[in-house]
Amino acid sequence: MSSYLPVLVLFVLAVAFGLLSLLVSITLSPKARSQAKEAPYECGIVPGREAPERFPVKFFLVAMIFIVFDIEIIFFFPWAVVFRELGGYGLAVIGIFAALVFESFVYLIGNGALEWGPRQRQRRAEIVSPDRTLTSTIRRVGAEGRPAALEPAALAPAAHHAPGHGDHGHGDHGAAA
Amino acid sequence: MLRLTWLIPALPLLGFVLLALFGKRLGNPFAGWVGTFFATGSFVAAVLVFAGLYQAGGERNFEQHLFTWLPAGDFSVDIGFLVDPLSATMILFVTGIAALIHLYSIGYMHHDENFPKFFAYLNLFVFSMLMLVLGNNLLLTFLGWEGVGACSYFLISFWFQKEANASAGKKAFITNRVGDWGFMVAIFVVFLKFGSLNYSVILPAAGGLARTTATFIAVMLFVGACGKSAQIPLYIWLPDAMAGPTPVSALIHAATMVTAGVYLMVRCNAFIAASAEWVSWLIAAVGCLTAFVAAMVGTSQYDIKKVLAYSTVSQLGYMFLAVGSGAYVAAIFHMITHAFFKACLFLGSGSVIHGMGDEQDMRFMGRLQRFLPITSATFIVAWLAIAGVPPFSGFWSKDEILEFAYLKSPILGFLGLVTALITAYYMTRQVTMVFWAPARWGEHAVREEVALAPAAVVAAGEGEEADAEAAAAAEVPAGEVVTLVNGLPVEGHEAVVDPHFHPHESGPEMTIPLIVLAVLAVFGGFLNLPFTHGTEFLASWLEPAVRLGYPGGLEPEGPSPLLKVLFAAMSTLVAAAGIAYARSVFKDGDRAKAARFEPALLQDAWRYDRAVTAFMGGPGRRIFDGLAWFDRTVVDGAVNGTGVLIRSVGRGARRIQSGYVRSYALGVAVGAVVVVVLMAVRVLSF
């Protein structure tokens, strides 16, 4: 059991550090609430809009692509340490690994993950159907479960949403809506 | 060639699959030809196998093991075929007659909209029947047994749009259930005793059974056979089964399926031999009584097919009489000849019905010999065969049964002889009424008018024409002959044939089977001529298959030559007497005179059917009501209670399925705790 003692000590220390910092900030900091302090950016600029703003989903995508390479790097470190001992075999293995990780990057690029222009079309499909009309399009999307009687009424307000439904790609969900 | 055995059932099965899948696309009549092709192919294969078995010599016992279904521990079910003289004989005439009837049906059913379905069922039936006959174990036989039962049900209610047909189908199904129960019990007991169901295992070992066990098995098998082969008291379904199309009546309810019970008894004769003496007495008595009772009913029926149906029941009774008397060869012999002449009779009656525009009442027939020459010729040949006129086939086979029955007990022999007299009588009555008596067709038009008249009055209100017609119809006294010419009643019958109506002979696809069957009905008797042992082909052929049924494995001494001659003479005499008497009564078509010979009791089939119905409706119903009450409150209460409980538990459990991930995660976590605790308990227990 004694071999686990350092772990326990570390655990206690970590918890203690967290608690301590909280405690210190609560007790020592002066409490002076003001409008400016409550604002999202405490830098003197008065916010012009609501704080929880919508922003393009692309930001997330970039973050996720970043993670992919992050992980790659994490695996590169231990390999680099024993690089010589592993020799050619290690080189081959890490090469395969890197190729596979890079493959995901190829996929992302191929699907336009880094295309930032507005309204970049994502569909690879040909025209869905030549005889597709405005009405059929609206019915197609989410008509399921809607009572039939409602349809004529629902049709009119739904009509001006139709183009948006028709051709936005998956990357643009946030922006279009 | 014996290796072709699997082909015999496989071909009709393939035909069934093809017809079931593509029947509609093949259409009418091509679907019929496809069905006929596969039935014929099966027949050819059967002939080859038969030839192979004939050449094989020796024990003539060939088993083809296809595969083992469910090889689990001690319970293994083999799918395999047994070809021995008995099954070889059976497959030969089953496939042969089936092929002929397929051909016939192409003509008979040509106007039916469900034409392909009909042939699909027929092929399925042939397959099931062949499984029944060829199976090398009781379970396979039972599968075939159920298969033919199901096909029979489908085909009886083939024209299910009519209420009567549908209920006839149900009646057949339910009555057969009673028999099947017996068969199933027998199978269970056999399996318990031997641990196997294979004939090659159980039959030789049957002799070693305790007497009571063997008796029980034999009786249960007999109950099964009674259901399928329409013996007293389970015969009521067969006459009603005539609601099906006529080829079905010929194939299933005369030639093949109903003889399955006889086949089963002959196949399992070892059990009868090992059982108590009274079992064979029971079988013989039931058979003899059935033969007599059904023959009596046959004397008074008007429906051309009903007469033949009761005749079938009666002839099956003969076969059981033979089985009970230990004359297994005679039973099979009669089964074969009966298949020939009865199929011929049924198909002939179908041809008559077809030619008469769907008229089945014999009172409205007559004179048909002139219009249906081929049909009548073949029908007459078959009539002579069933009436027992030498040298037609029926004479030889029936005679052999009577001799053995006499050896069993003179009473049985005598009753059999009386039945033979009645048989000759009612068949002559039928032939006379249909073919020779004065023509009375067109009368069915009157009947329809009479039936329609009151309705017309109601419908037309004070319409004068309707009144006049109704009055005209009302003037017609019951039982008197009135024919319509141009819608008016006319006295007398010779010249009053409806000018628009002409009975017509059927096409070649219907007459060819008739001719073939008629030829067989003539010469079928030569299979087993009782002159010397050399001419008893069938007896020596079947000997290995029936040997186990003989007490001590030795063939019992047959009738002495003197007895044979005596019985031949007597039955010839009896047949002649029956024919002559019936002819004298029915020749001139005098209904008033004839009616005296058709008592209401017999027309009503001894009121047996009615009694069963009355019993079921009266005291039986009260008993059933009581049972139903018990069933509702106690049994149903328990069952429903369980059902309700299960459902409510289900509903409760459904509520747990809330759809929230958190509750699911909680569920998984609780489950994990349970599993870990279960594991930990193992640790602590040490």
Partner: protein, 565 residues
């Protein structure tokens, strides 16, 4: 495929021996890789990556049916590379024209991480079949639902890769690797229908709960490692054979936690709660694959870990499996009969089936393994067939799965209704269908192992679960369609069966009938597919199947030898 094998075989020594020898201090031993053993995994995995790369680089050049055809080809290729392994395992000299190279008999590869035996090859083939059927069903479905791109097929192949890894795993870490490869792909597959909110929900639920259960599994592996000092099943088995572990509780609790993770994958009660929601929400072809391929992989993992690695502890884990089997059979059957949604009902029926398979597994006997494999194989066809019908009957939007939607189905689509009846009867264990033989085998194995009560519970649950199927059949046949619209325009209600789906359904129907009437062939193959643990190195010297170095599964002794601790 053989050319690929040759290339890889040539590449192998160059990569391994050469530079390694030149290194100054080779402290790390480089494993000798038996490439042919890895071929099924490689074909599936590289097939997926290749498809993804090609479609990314050259967008729009491949037509969408091309994906399905490609997937079928890859799966067939994987099965083709697995076939020689089967021959080698059974010590055949050659398969057809090809000479099979030694070693003969079951063997381990890649430093004992991968075990090639009849069992793993059987499961590999089964997963291949599930992939083929899943691709055939999905082809038209994806087009109908407007789901573009190769992602479905890529993920299908990747999850199959994971499944095969699980089937071959001889090491708990490898098992976990396979489990995750399988699972993550399936999580995404469940959510692949972007327009259907239920699909998204299903994907999320499956992901969250799956992650939860995987954590349990990993904890279990860690505890087992703590108790035995190894994650390799061969080493663990050897260790346990000579030495009673000191931390017995740790080992058993570890086993219990592993059971949680794997039990989740096969949807055993009480870890089943996700399955109705996910089967209902996921696209129907995905549900078909989940019920067939994923389940097969899960049972492969269970068998390898418990029966092979810890067969010695059978008396410890048998009661737990007993409990899981009984609960799964009963809960699946009882809750299933109250369902009004066909896909949910099928989900509960699959829980019930999982119970039957667990019952076979808990017998811990060769007969049990045979029963399990037979059950898995036949169930794959029945369930894919059922979900295949649901795929077609769901119509555009994949939302018509209520029992009421099936009313009058027999009139509008007689052929599909007939097939559905066949699959449902099969699942209910109707004689002359494969389901009967499968249930029979499972119950017989339980009886042989002395688990009478469990066998009785199984039979009772089979009787109850028959109502699940009867309700659907009754809805299709007895209840007339109340909408006159169907009467007036039967063409509108008639479903056009696309070629791929039709092919899959016919194959499933043939298998369901065929294995019901002629179960012997499959039964024999399942019997020959016994799981064996073999020590590294490969028994090259051994010419026969039972060469030296086998620490094979001596299952016959398990129930009679209580473990002493």
């Amino acid at each position: 495929m053989s050319s690929l094998a040759a290339v890889l075989a040539q590449a192998a020594p160059g990569l391994t021996a050469g530079p390694a020898a030149a290194a100054p201090t080779p402290t790390i031993t480089v494993p000798d890789i038996e490439w042919t053993a890895l071929l099924p995994i490689l074909v599936l995995g590289l097939g997926a990556v290749l498809l993804l790369t090609l479609t990314s680089l050259a967008r729009g050049t491949v037509t969408r049916s091309g994906y399905a055809i490609y997937t079928v080809l890859v799966a067939t290729g994987a099965m083709a590379t697995a076939a020689p392994l089967w021959g080698r395992v059974h010590a055949w000299d050659h398969l057809g024209k090809w000479e099979l190279s030694p070693p003969y008999g079951p063997f381990s590869a890649v430093a004992g991480a991968i075990g090639v035996d009849g069992f793993s090859v059987f499961i590999t083939l089964l997963i291949g079949v599930a992939v083929i059927l899943g691709a055939l069903l999905a082809d038209d479905y994806l087009r109908r639902e407007g789901i573009d791109g190769p992602e479905y097929y890529v993920l299908l192949l990747l999850s199959a890769t994971g499944g095969v890894i699980m089937a071959m795993a001889n090491d708990l870490i490898v098992l976990f690797l396979g489990l995750e490869t399988l699972s993550i792909a399936v999580y995404v597959l469940a959510a692949i229908h972007l327009k259907r909110v239920q699909s998204q929900e299903a994907g999320l639920k499956y992901f969250v709960l799956g992650g939860f259960s995987s954590a349990f599994f990993l904890y279990g592996v860690a505890m087992v490692y703590g108790a035995t000092g190894s994650t390799n099943l061969v080493q663990i088995k050897d260790l346990l054979a000579v030495k009673v572990p000191t931390h017995n509780a740790l080992l058993l609790i570890g086993l219990g936690l592993m059971l949680v993770g794997l039990g989740f994958k096969v949807a055993a009660v009480p870890f089943h709660s996700w399955s109705p929601d996910v089967y209902d929400g996921a696209p129907s072809p995905v549900a078909a694959f989940m019920a067939s391929g994923v389940k097969a992989a899960g049972f492969a993992g269970l068998t390898r870990a418990f029966l092979l690695g810890f067969g010695q502890f059978a008396s410890d884990w048998q009661p737990v499996l007993y409990f899981l089997a009984a609960a799964s059979m009963l809960v699946g059957a009882i809750v299933g009969i109250t369902q009004t949604n066909v896909k949910r009902a099928l989900a509960y029926s699959s829980i019930n089936h999982a119970g039957f398979m667990l019952m076979a597994l808990q017998a811990a006997s060769p007969k049990g393994v045979t029963g399990l494999l037979f059950y898995l194989a036949t169930y794959t066809f029945m369930t894919v067939g059922s979900f295949g019908i649901a795929t077609l009957a769901g119509r555009t939007g994949d939302g018509h799965h209520d029992l009421a939607d099936y009313r009058g189905f027999s009139r509008t689509n007689p052929a599909l209704a007939g097939l559905f009846v066949l699959f449902l009867l099969g699942q209910s264990g109707f004689p002359l269908t494969s389901g009967f033989v499968a249930k029979f085998g499972s119950i017989a194995a339980a009886v042989d192992a002395g688990s009478w009560h469990l066998a009785v519970i199984g039979m009772v649950s089979a009787a109850i679960s028959a109502f699940i199927y009867l309700r659907i059949i009754v809805a299709m046949y007895m209840a007339e369609s109340d909408t006159e619209a169907a009467e007036k325009a039967p063409k509108a209600a008639r479903i056009k069966v696309p070629f791929g789906a039709g092919l899959a359904l016919v194959a499933c129907a043939l298998a369901t009938i065929g294995f019901g009437i002629l179960p012997n062939g499959l039964n024999r193959v399942a019997g020959e597919a016994e799981p064996v643990l073999v020590k590294e190195p490969v028994p090259a010297a051994a010419s026969g199947a039972d060469g030296a170095g086998l620490t094979g599964l001596d299952l016959t002794t398990i129930p009679t030898t209580p473990t002493t601790r």
